[in-house]
């Protein structure tokens, strides 16, 4: 094996590519060649390192650089790689002040724990050997050799893992329902139609550690008795699609997917399906319709997919992040998983943190951390220096939490008891210079556009909300409009056919609760 004195781990996920990662890599290659050290230093492309902007880690020192542009590369090569002096001005804030050897480890001390993102950013996602070297496919081997399907379901039930897509349904129970439904054919579907504005955790999991997802789906297939899986990926996610497809091919070549996996009786194949850019297809039954080649309109529930799903057969639909937890749960046991997090809300949660903050990016934290801790310790306050006004958690259809309520714990039970939701796992911090009416208008427009049109409360309601927000922004609203809005929101929440319409009103209800006075500024002069 070839020896390299340094390894540069370069994040090549989509946000990094958008920020210019390709240019950085090309310049880096050129510089290394120019200095004739291309045989001493290896560039490894990996998934998200959890920072915003182009980031890299240089090993063995473990120094993390963020916000690199192509013009910084020359300095990095000359200073760090040739002279051995790390370039402090480019170092990530969390390790520039500390012992430089600490590197990535230090970042974990900010309160993060990585299970789902264990490998993202430390292995080459396009190389199956690197995943295997990190105990990859060991969980699959273990269940095939030692466990009955019932055992697997018991382990997952023990772990108290709950769905990470938004509804937080206990995963083990869902698997058990499907296991108990008798059928000649069952299916496993991974919901990777991530369409919430601001959310890209699933994409980064797929781009950073695609094999973990495949392994988990195969384990699920074994547990419920399915031999076919689908990954429904948003059509715009071209890099995810490419990486997942390559991962499937590599796994098939090693007999980790396909017929008689590892010489057992179990066979499992996975197919990638492309979404067509419809937000509603994140709803599980709409997604199933879409895989069947139809318009992505939701179905009436019950029957739920575990009983009657894809092509009328029992089907598991789980989110990418939910699946990504499975191999670690199998290897370490349910008890281990339960100990992370808090009572009734086991494990960790991946969030993308955004908005007016200093440290944007992808984080994984134990359940039960407070919003304030995320804001102060991980996001490190607002970038503009202005006061933070509210956090919008869970994507567009999530909840607006004003600053005074930042002490809330981000675990499923606490959130549910306050009538809040994790949603898709995005936290957007908004500072006080953004007017609530302007902010809500952009959300209203999104839902008006994305309502699939099947049911009246959602189709007409999202349209009326948008009209109302337009009026508020032109200072043309009447006082009675606000009361009408409240009624409309209640109707939509109760009467919409699927989660889209039911949840679309969340930010509006919250805003009317916490920011009514500010919203009233949009009411006509003299009517307030």
């Amino acid at each position: 094996m070839k020896f390299y004195r340094s390894h540069i781990i370069l994040g090549m996920d989509t946000p990094s590519l958008l920020a210019g990662a390709k240019g950085v890599r090309d310049t880096l290659e050129k510089e290394l060649k120019a200095k004739k050290i291309e045989n001493e230093i290896r560039i490894v492309e990996t998934g998200s390192l959890g920072y915003h902007g182009v980031s890299m880690i240089v090993y063995p020192e473990g120094v993390t650089y963020t916000g690199i542009t192509a013009s910084d590369v020359k300095e990095l090569v000359e200073e760090h790689l040739i002279k051995g002096r790390p370039v402090r001005r480019l170092m990530a804030e969390d390790n520039s002040q500390k012992d430089i050897c600490a590197g990535q480890q230090e970042r974990l001390l900010d309160g993060q724990v990585r299970i789902v993102l264990k490998n993202a950013g430390s292995i080459d996602p396009e190389n199956i050997s690197e995943y295997i070297a990190k105990d990859g496919y060991m969980a699959l081997g273990k269940v095939l050799a030692e466990n009955t399907p019932k055992d697997v379901i018991d382990i997952v039930k023990d772990s108290e893992l709950r769905g990470r897509g938004g509804a937080a349904f206990p995963t083990g129970k869902k698997w058990e329902f499907t296991y108990n439904t008798e059928s000649c054919q069952k299916y496993v579907i991974c919901n990777a139609d991530e369409g919430e504005p601001g959310t890209f955790k699933d994409r980064l999991i797929m781009e950073g550690d695609p094999h973990a997802l495949l392994e988990a789906m195969a384990i699920c297939g074994y547990a419920i008795g399915a031999d076919k899986g689908f990954i429904y990926v948003r059509g715009e996610y071209s890099l995810s699609i490419e990486r997942v497809k390559k991962a499937i091919k590599d796994a098939e070549a090693l007999n980790l997917l396909g017929k008689n996996i590892l010489n057992s009786d179990f066979s499992f194949e996975i197919e990638v399906c492309l979404g067509g850019g419809a937000y509603v297809c994140g709803e599980e039954t709409a997604l199933i319709e879409s895989i069947e080649g139809k318009r992505g309109e939701p179905r009436l529930k019950p029957p739920y997919p575990p009983v009657c799903g894809l092509f009328g057969k029992p089907t598991i639909v789980n989110n990418v992040e939910t699946f990504a937890n499975i191999p670690q749960i199998i290897l370490n046991g349910g008890e281990w998983f339960k100990k992370l997090g808090v009572q009734g809300s086991a494990g960790t949660k991946v969030f993308t943190i955004l908005g007016d903050i200093n440290e944007k990016g992808l984080i994984e934290v134990p359940m039960g951390i407070t919003l304030k801790e995320v804001f102060e310790n991980i996001a490190k306050g607002t970038r503009s220096g202005k006061k933070v006004k509210f956090a919008h958690i869970g994507g567009s259809s999530g909840n607006i939490v004003p600053f005074k309520d930042f002490d809330i714990k981000l675990d499923l039970n606490t959130l549910a008891s306050s009538d809040l939701t994790h949603g898709s796992g995005v936290i957007l911090f908004v500072s006080e210079d953004i007017h609530i009416n302007d902010y809500l208008k952009s959300i209203a427009k999104f839902f008006q556009h994305e309502s699939c049109g099947k049911c009246t409360p959602c189709r007409e309601g999202t349209f009326r909300i948008y009209q109302f927000m337009e009026k508020l922004n032109r200072n043309q609203a009447k006082k009675s409009d606000i009361a009408k809005m409240k009624d409309l929101c209640m109707v939509m929440k109760k009467a919409s056919f699927c989660g889209l319409g039911q949840a679309a009103v969340n930010p509006f209800i919250d805003a009317m609760r916490h920011f009514e006075k500010e919203m009233m500024e949009g009411v006509k002069e003299g009517e307030r």
Binding site: G20, R203, L274, G277, E292, G355
Partner: protein
């Protein structure tokens, strides 16, 4: 076989795509993706061929094509300009960009310029919220923190590229 007259569209690729997919369950969306990738748009003729080839009602094919934003029935311009209107971009002025682009190109959102060079679209979050507002061209060229002032330069750049 392809016609030699030069006006007819060569459907042999479409026929191959359909042939490979026939008999598989729920294959329609994948066929539509492949067909659009090759032909640029899913014209009524293409939809008819797909419906016949896969033995599903034309109404279902049409219903599916019009449901998803990704599919288009008219060919798009050579350069597809997409403006992100996700929440983060919106609060940083994406709607002003949409107006300016529409004004400068003299097309509406979803339209294509008469010379077939530019299409103007808005997209949901592209996942680069720290670079907001973001504009992408053909999903390859990325412009970050765009202001209305820069728009002329962006458009002119592509016009020049074409002229060369």
């Amino acid at each position: 076989m392809a016609c030699e007259c030069g006006n007819c569209i060569d459907y042999s690729v479409l026929e191959r795509i359909i042939e490979e997919s026939r008999g598989k369950e729920g294959i329609l969306i994948n066929v539509l993706h492949s067909a659009q990738e090759h032909y640029g748009a899913l014209t009524p003729d293409i939809q008819k061929k797909i419906a016949e080839g896969l033995n599903i009602p034309l109404s279902q094919v049409y219903g599916t094509v019009t449901f998803y934003h990704f599919f288009t029935m008219v060919p798009k311009g050579k350069y597809v300009i997409k403006i992100c209107t996700g929440t983060a971009c919106y609060v940083r002025g994406a709607n002003k960009l949409v107006e300016s682009f529409a004004d400068k190109l003299n097309v509406e959102v979803g339209g294509t310029t008469s010379d077939g060079l530019f299409s103007l679209e808005t997209v949901r979050c592209v996942g680069a919220c720290s670079l907001a507002p973001v504009v992408t061209v053909n999903d390859v060229d990325i412009y970050k923190r765009v202001t209305p002032k820069e728009i002329d330069g962006i458009i002119e750049g592509y016009r020049q590229k074409e002229a060369e």
